[in-house]
Symmetry: C2
Subunit: 484 residues, 2 copies
């Protein structure tokens, strides 16, 4: 039996009125992050950081299962090192922070605060690699990076952000390509299974690839305002950095070869993705796998509840914790149950459990799902298994709902007129034939704001179709969307 | 039955010949860390970083069990913020890195790269705290910090280092003092139980306290060269930062009060402490609790070992992993068993397991302890429990040995002549009566290089004794040592 919970008033702007405003309201009211006195830099508050810790755990486990180890490289990069790879400089030099003084002295050579670590890590790999026996090197780093941004948004684009960056070195081009795609697969698996965020994977265009890479692949998610979010990238660096940083090894045939490199990263931006994939006008909705509290128990304070209801709530908490569920009892007596219901809804807790004196009599609890807002009773006996099941259900339901939303906001266009209609109407992903030229890509962007998100690995053959803009024969299909 | 393993030659300088050289040799040969192209900054290599991950886990678990949560604050601090607290400025301004340009533009206000985060965190607490209901705030941050150092040493003193910094705010002075001592206790517990590193705890003198604190407490360990290492500090900040950053709250009696603050931190320096507490001329010796590999299995490659020995080794590995033991099978066929024995000894693996065809016949394995270098056979049946027991034994033995070493290098001195004799002879901790004046403290340092490490919480009463240097009545005893 279930009954809907009435909407409670919140001070959050409705999504339909102003999505960007809704986003900021949710981030701040749910205490995920806050503005800091440093322009463009945010503070990740404990609730938001707890999500990041769960994201780290989910990814780190997968990195280690695929043979990677963690290490740590310096925050600072000497100017001369950053300047070695031509494309890389062009991409990053305009957006780095410069350290010019250490203590009371002016530095002989300026340092940049790392915007990414290919150059400093490449320098070390050149020292460490001598023989094919030293390969592959499969290293990941959890770190902060800084990119000087003009316009910033909490989690989505900040001057400093937290991320992981994998950097690997291989004997052959084939191995490097395999690794690049393997890690893209890890990202997709994590996004879909842990964040309940469906993504499309594919190849970035030349103009959108990483500065210095041979090829960049990405995963792209669709936010509830119909805009795409690049959620992770994996780069095949080829021998570009190896040649510049002199990362050579003696091959099995005794010849001297340059290694083949990859790098790949995701960042705290994923938290923004989760918020905009699942949230509603009531606030945050968290997939159980990354919810800091999967269940919040609200005891109903009637009669001598501290002697009767509370101990039972604690016993249930202990039972759930023993099963590995993350549970919080909210027994503050400064707040009413109604206030608490609203608060934990706003903060996206997947499952709320209410226990009052009457529930105690019936040996039951009341469960309220955040995603559907359905309330139902469940017997105390066997509550652990019941909660596990509900959480699995919610995780799946959130993914299904997000996938349905994406499907409803995905279309194909064979003519430019059709394409523009879609982009002006209800935005989303549009798959369309493309000749492969940067000029056409730029023209679409200038006219519609939509960019090519990536080129799908498999799509209807483009043979015989004409490019969306120029009409020449299409080389492939491409995913277009307005993006964050 | 057990037999000693003969010493194998290594390219590590003996401790007795040059301890500082031995230290660097171990760090580099064991691949814990490496020098980087950035002056004073090191690279923490995977094996060293795996130790740091285990240290983080051990501490983070304890922080959470004592009610703390993690968060993340900006890397950059505006110059004006750093300059607000007078003592703090004086302590830190001479040793910070300055960011003067962002992208292509000169900044209006310079930023420092955080040397510690009291100022930026204090600013945020001022926004977040309104009422006594918002207290206590119990936040910890895992982060990198930068202090411009003239002389650096791998792990012990580097320009950039990794650490955790706890920052808390409380209603009363009593609560802040309790918290300060609680976290010192957490550090002591962690150092002694996980790092097997005995420490003495106590109060820092005025001249050695944290810049801006009311009182600083520390834990101090003794390295095998007889020098002390400050391994962790916990500061009672009183209302100093609260007054400067305006962190006020409405108290229970409706009056407006400033919060009472604490901060506390330990860093990657702990890894240096572990190396110098336990290592010997064969290299590193790791306590099992922070050993990346607690057991390394070396299959002896005779006959068709890949079909016979290796599967058995894998089965034992799986059994141990299921019990939560960190195990590696070294089945490289590019190296001999002798080379592997030497290598894993050098890298400090607590327990080596050898399995050859003859062991297979006897249904046994050979175990070699790194700490005692004893070899013994153990039946394969029940090997999991046997290994668990050995690891527990090694953990305890390392602590006991370190404690014995400290006791043998601890003395008391009632006269300055006696004190100087000890400091010129075999160094270590010396407890001596002290009048409490900074002048006497400075005089001892100038003449003997020894500094006051801390003032013990309980020591023989100093009443009636005379200060080591000036002869005036002693206020207390103090721990002296030459320190890192």
């Amino acid at each position: 039996m279930s009954e809907p919970i009435p909407d409670l008033p919140t001070d959050i702007t409705p999504q339909s009125r102003d999505f960007a405003r809704w986003y900021v309201d949710v981030v701040r009211r749910a205490e995920l992050a806050d503005y800091s006195p440093v322009k463009g830099c945010m503070v990740i508050r404990p609730y938001g950081y707890a999500m990041w810790e769960l994201i780290q755990q989910g990814l780190d486990r997968r990195f280690k299962a695929t043979g990677h180890v963690n290490a740590y490289f310096p925050l600072f990069i000497p100017e001369s090192l950053l300047m070695k790879e031509a494309e890389h400089v062009e991409g990053f030099a305009p957006q780095v922070a410069w350290v010019t003084h250490g203590g009371t002295e002016k530095l002989e050579e300026r340092l940049v605060v790392r915007p990414t670590s290919e150059t400093i890590i490449g320098t070390m790999y050149a020292k460490w690699v001598q023989s094919w026996r030293d390969l592959p090197i499969l290293i990941n780093q959890w770190a902060n990076v800084v990119r000087w941004e003009k316009v910033t948004r909490l989690f989505l684009r900040t001057t400093e952000f937290l991320w992981q960056e994998g950097h690997t070195a291989h004997e052959t081009a084939e191995e490097a390509e395999e690794e690049t795609l393997r890690m893209l697969g890890v990202y997709k698996d994590f996004a879909e299974n842990d964040l309940a965020m469906p993504v499309i994977d594919g190849l970035k265009t030349e103009s959108e690839k990483f500065a210095g890479a041979l090829r960049t692949y990405s995963i792209e998610a669709l936010m509830r305002d119909g805009r795409a979010l690049q959620a992770g990238t994996s780069h095949n660096l080829g021998q570009n950095f190896a040649k510049v940083f002199d990362i050579k090894f003696q091959a099995r045939d005794k010849s001297v070869q340059y290694v083949y490199g990859t790098s790949w990263g995701v960042s705290t931006r994923l938290i923004g993705g989760v918020i905009m994939t699942h949230g509603d006008d009531g606030g945050l909705i968290l997939p159980p796998r990354i919810a800091p509290h999967q269940v919040v128990i609200v005891p109903i304070p009637r009669g001598n509840w501290r002697e009767t209801v509370l101990p039972k709530a604690q016993a249930i908490r202990d039972e759930l914790v023993a099963r590995g569920v993350r549970v919080l009892i909210d027994d503050r007596d400064t707040q009413t149950p109604g206030w608490k219901f609203n608060e934990w809804e706003l903060r996206g807790v997947p499952l709320r459990m209410e226990i009052g004196p009457r529930d105690l009599e019936k040996a039951q609890v009341v469960l309220a799902r955040r995603d559907t807002r359905e309330k139902s009773a469940a017997p105390m006996d066997g509550i652990g298994a019941h909660v596990d099941e509900r959480l699995t259900e919610i995780q799946r339901a959130l993914y299904d709902r997000a996938l349905k939303f994406r499907e409803e906001h995905t279309s194909s266009a064979d003519s430019y007129a059709e394409f523009k209609d879609i982009m002006e109407g209800r935005p989303g992903f549009v798959i369309a034939p493309w000749c492969g030229s940067a000029a056409c890509e730029a023209a679409v962007k200038a006219e519609t704001q939509a960019t090519i998100r990536n080129i799908p690995f498999s799509s209807p053959p483009a043979g015989g179709k004409a490019c969306l803009t120029c009409g020449r024969p299409a080389a492939s299909h491409a995913w277009f969307a307005k993006a964050y």
